[in-house]
Amino acid sequence: MYRTRFSDHLVLIVGALFLCTPVVVAFMTSTHTAADIHMNGLSLTWGGNFIDTYEKVLTQKGGFTGEITGTSMVINSLILGVGFAVGKIVLSMLAAYAIVYFRFPMATLSFWVIFTTLLLPLEVRIMPSYQVMSELGLLNSYTGLIVPLLASATGTFYFRQFFKSVPEELLEAARIDGAGPFKFFIDILVPISRTMIAAIFIIMFVYGWNQYLWPMLMTTDERFFTLMRGIKSILQVWIGSQIPDYNEAFALAVLAMLPPVAIVVIFQSWFIKGLTESDK
C-alpha cells in the first residue's frame, strides 16, 4: 500500500494554514483596540479587548439614523435566514409533492416552468427585479427581503429527487388503507422526509444568512439592515476617517461568519453528503 510521505502532510498543512489563518487572524485582531491595530497591524494573539469591542458592536446605536445596533442586524439576518429556509421548504415540498404524486395535464409544463429558474441567477436580473419590487411597494419590508429569493427551483429539485426515491409501496399501502392526498402527505411523507428537511433547512439558512446583493438593493431603511448590509455601510463610513474602526469591522465580520463556519464544522458529514451524494 501507499506510504504516507512527509510532503503530503506538508502540502495539507500549508493548505489548511492558507485557508484558516485569515479567519483566526480576523477573530484575534477583533479583540484589539482600533489604535493598537492601526499601529501594529493584524494580530495572531489575544488582545484582551474582546468584551469592549463586541459589546460596542452589538449594543451601540450607529448608522445615519442612530437606530441600528449589531444586535438588530443579527436579528434581521436571522429573520432572513430562517424565513428563507422555512419558505423554501414549504413552497418546494408542496410543489414537488404535486409534481411527483399527482397525474395531471400540466405536470411536465409546470416542471419546466419551475426548472427554468435555475438558468438565470438573481445577479443578471437585479434591475428589473428591483423595479417590480418598488411597483409592488415591497421595498424595506421583510416580505420584500425574503419572498423574491424564493423564486428558484433548488429546493423543489431536491425534494422531487427525494420523493421519487420513496418506495411505491408506501403510497399503495396508504391508499388501500384509505388515506387521501392530505393524510398521505402529512402523516407519511413529511415524517419520512424529516432528515431531508433538516438538511435543507441548514443549507438554506446559510444561503439566506449570506445574502448580500438583494438586501443591499431592497433595504434603505436601517431598521431592516442585515449583517451583510452592515458590512457595506461600515466600509462607507470609514473612508476618510483617521483611525478606521478596524476592530469593529473585524468583529462584524466574525459575527457574520460565525453561523456559516459553525454549521459547516458541526454538520460536516451532512454537508458533504448533501453536496456530493447523488439521488439515491
Binding site: P22, V23, R103, P148, N210, M257
Partner: protein, 326 residues
C-alpha cells in the same frame, strides 16, 4: 459511455447552493420517470403548485421579461416616459471600449480563478486522500471556510491587503513590490483573485475528495501493479476517472467567478469602481443603480443571460460528450 441528452440539466446554479450531486448523475433517464401509483384530482395539484408558481411568475418571469423589453428602450432619467431605440442599447454596450475592457477582465478573472481554485483543490484532495491518520482534522480545517459569505471574505481580504495594516502589503514591500490595492488596477485585481480563490478552494476540495474516494480499490491496486510512477498512475488512471467531477466543477467555478464574486468585488473596491477592475455583473449593477441607465443595464443583463445560456448549452453539447463516464 458518453451522455447524449437533449434536456438541459440544471447543474450550475443548483449546485452552487449545494445540490451538485443530485444534478450530476443520471439525469436523463430519471427525469420523466413517473410513480406507478398517483393521485388524480382536478384541483389539488394546482393548489399545491400555486405558491411556488406565483412566486416564480412574479419574481422571476416578470422581471426577466421586463429586462428584455426595457433593453430596447431608453428611459428618461427624470421619469418622463421612454423611447424605443431598437438594438442601440446593445450596440452601445458591446462597442464601448469600457465594456470591452471589463469583459476582457471578467474573462481573465474567470479563467485564472477557475484554474487556480480547481488545481489547488485537486492537489489538496489528492494529498488528503492518501492520508489515513488525522485525515478528519485536515478535512475539517480545509472545509471550515466553505460557507463564508463573499462580502465577508472580501472584507477580510481587504484588511490583509490594507495600506496600513495589511501583512501582505508589508511582505510584498520587502520584495520591492509597492502594492496599492484600491488604487492600482493590477494590484486590486491580484488581491481580488487571491480572495476569490481562497473562498472557492474548499468547495472544489470536497468534490475532488469524494470523487477520489469513489475510485474503486481494485482499480487502484491494478494500477499499482502496472505502473510504478505515482504521477503517471495519477495522470493515466485516476484523473480520467475524475473527469466527470472535474467537468462538473468547471461549470460551477465559472459561474462562481462570473456571478457569486459580486459581494467580494463590491467590498474590495470599497464602493468606488473608479479605476478598479470590475466584472460584467458589477457593471450591470453599477449602471442600473448608480448611473440610472435602465435600458443599458437591462441590455447588459440580457447579454449575460445569453452568456449563461451559451455556457449551459456548451456544457451539454460539447464538453459532456468528451468526458468519460463509468
Amino acid at each position: 459511455m458518453a451522455y447524449t441528452t437533449s434536456q438541459p440539466q440544471p447543474g450550475g446554479f443548483l449546485s452552487r447552493l449545494g445540490f451538485g450531486g443530485a444534478a450530476r448523475k443520471k439525469p436523463a433517464a430519471a427525469a420523466e420517470e413517473m410513480k406507478r401509483v398517483q393521485f388524480t384530482s382536478p384541483v389539488l395539484p394546482y393548489l399545491f403548485l400555486f405558491p411556488q408558481l406565483a412566486v416564480i411568475f412574479i419574481f422571476f418571469y416578470w422581471p426577466s421579461v421586463q429586462a428584455l423589453s426595457s433593453s430596447f428602450y431608453i428611459e428618461d432619467p427624470f421619469g418622463f416616459g421612454s423611447t424605443f431605440v431598437g438594438m442601440s442599447n446593445y450596440t452601445d454596450a458591446l462597442f464601448s471600449a469600457e465594456y470591452q475592457s471589463i469583459a476582457l477582465f471578467t474573462a481573465a478573472f474567470t479563467i485564472i480563478v477557475t484554474f487556480l481554485s480547481l488545481s489547488i483543490g485537486l492537489l489538496l484532495a489528492v494529498k488528503a486522500d492518501r492520508i489515513i491518520k488525522g485525515s478528519s482534522t485536515y478535512k475539517t480545517l480545509l472545509i471550515a471556510v466553505y460557507a463564508i459569505a463573499a462580502p465577508v471574505s472580501g472584507l477580510i481580504g481587504m484588511m490583509f491587503f490594507d495600506q496600513h495594516i495589511g501583512p501582505f502589503v508589508k511582505m510584498m514591500s520587502y520584495l520591492g513590490w509597492n502594492m496599492q490595492v484600491g488604487l492600482n488596477y493590477y494590484d486590486t485585481a491580484f488581491a481580488m483573485i487571491v480572495v476569490a480563490v481562497w473562498k472557492q478552494i474548499p468547495y472544489n476540495f470536497i468534490f475532488f475528495l469524494s470523487g477520489l474516494q469513489n475510485v474503486p480499490v481494485s482499480v487502484r491496486e491494478a494500477a499499482m501493479i502496472d505502473c510504478r510512477s505515482g504521477f503517471r498512475r495519477f495522470w493515466t488512471v485516476v484523473l480520467p476517472l475524475l473527469a466527470p467531477t472535474a467537468f462538473f466543477l468547471l461549470t460551477i467555478n465559472v459561474t462562481y467567478s462570473l456571478f457569486d464574486t459580486f459581494g467580494l468585488i463590491d467590498v474590495m473596491v470599497k464602493d468606488k469602481p473608479a479605476n478598479n477592475p470590475i466584472t460584467l455583473v458589477y457593471k450591470v449593477y453599477n449602471d442600473g443603480f448608480r448611473g440610472n441607465d435602465l435600458g443599458g443595464s437591462s441590455a447588459q443583463s440580457v447579454i449575460l443571460m445569453i452568456v449563461v445560456f451559451v455556457l449551459t448549452i456548451f456544457q451539454f453539447r460539447y464538453i459532456e460528450r468528451r468526458v468519460h463516464y463509468n
